[in-house]
């Protein structure tokens, strides 16, 4: 029993459990974030104005890339990837409400789009 207790003593939070995010990994994640941003700029300044990509497809790509960036920030910088599954789940599942709200408001916006006077 005592073994388990020392395992979870306060000291562990101070310097244990943090394996996995060394300096090399930090710069790697930075490189990924920078690369994604550069891709977004190429789409915004070259592909869409040049007519190589329609705006609505560009928007989907932007949102996908944004979510990818969000994943890297939350998983690595905010360290969530290395936390217990219970914490990961309780912090992410609540965003189901946000998805619901997005769907709701886009339907509302679409309705207004069709039914509002032209101004």
């Amino acid at each position: 029993m005592s073994e388990i207790h020392t395992d979870h003593s306060h000291d562990e939070h101070a310097h244990g459990e943090h394996a996995g995010l060394d300096k090399k990994k930090i710069w790697q994640v930075f490189g990924i974030l920078l690369a994604i941003t550069v891709i977004e700029f190429i789409i915004a300044l070259v592909l869409i104005p040049g007519g190589h990509m329609p705006q609505h497809i560009g928007n989907f790509v932007y949102i996908a890339l944004t979510l990818l960036k969000a994943f890297y920030i939350v998983a690595y910088f905010m360290h969530l990837k290395y936390e217990k599954v219970g914490l990961q789940v309780s912090l992410t599942v609540v965003f189901v409400f946000i998805f619901y709200f997005i769907v709701l408001m886009l339907i509302e916006g679409g309705y207004l789009h069709l039914h509002m006077p032209l101004v």
Partner: protein
Amino acid sequence: MSSLSQLDQVKTTPWSGGRSPWSVEYGKIMMWFFLVSDAFTFSSLLIYYGAQRFSKFTWPDPDLVFQSIPGITDSGAPLVFVGIMTFILIMSSVTMVLAVEAGHRRSKKEVVWWMIATIIGGLMFLGCQAAEWTHLFHEGFGWGKIPTMETLHHLFTGEVSTVSALQFSNLFFTITGFHGFHVFSGVIINIIILCMTINGTFEKRGHYLMVEKVGLYWHFVDLVWVFVFTFFYLV
């Protein structure tokens, strides 16, 4: 083993009590929960913005609105300035993780330097935002204010809509303002933590958990900017 003696056995699973099942310190869990609630606030603002934009036939074109680099050129450089701002914020996020990493090694000197770098990054971002706002104010934008029709013609690709321009103006200043307010509070908190680090408070405590908690907040601010950047400047 009888069933009665099984009852007497002390359970050792993570959720049977006596220890933190997530093995995360209390303050850190509370920071996470605060950030989730803050994420809801930002989501609501951005979703309202999305719904407004979705309902309109035309909207100011970001490539045309954000063309200036304050102090260098007034037009002809679409999205360059916001690119610089994004880079500054990502960079300051990296220096923050490096401060946290140095904290794990309990290297006070490194924590101090990375925190200073993070604070400088935050201040640079705020400076850029102030410059951008000033430029937009000069163009005639503001809360409840839009530029003259003549100017608006240059900011729309299609037909001009004053209602869309007004919605854009109000939402832009409210959302980037709320984000800027978060950056500002983050800088203040970072300065407090820097003073505590220099003071040796965390050294005496034996851990740099406070740096981690502030780090969570700072990365969240960066995270929100990623979304603001996409929905105001790209889409």
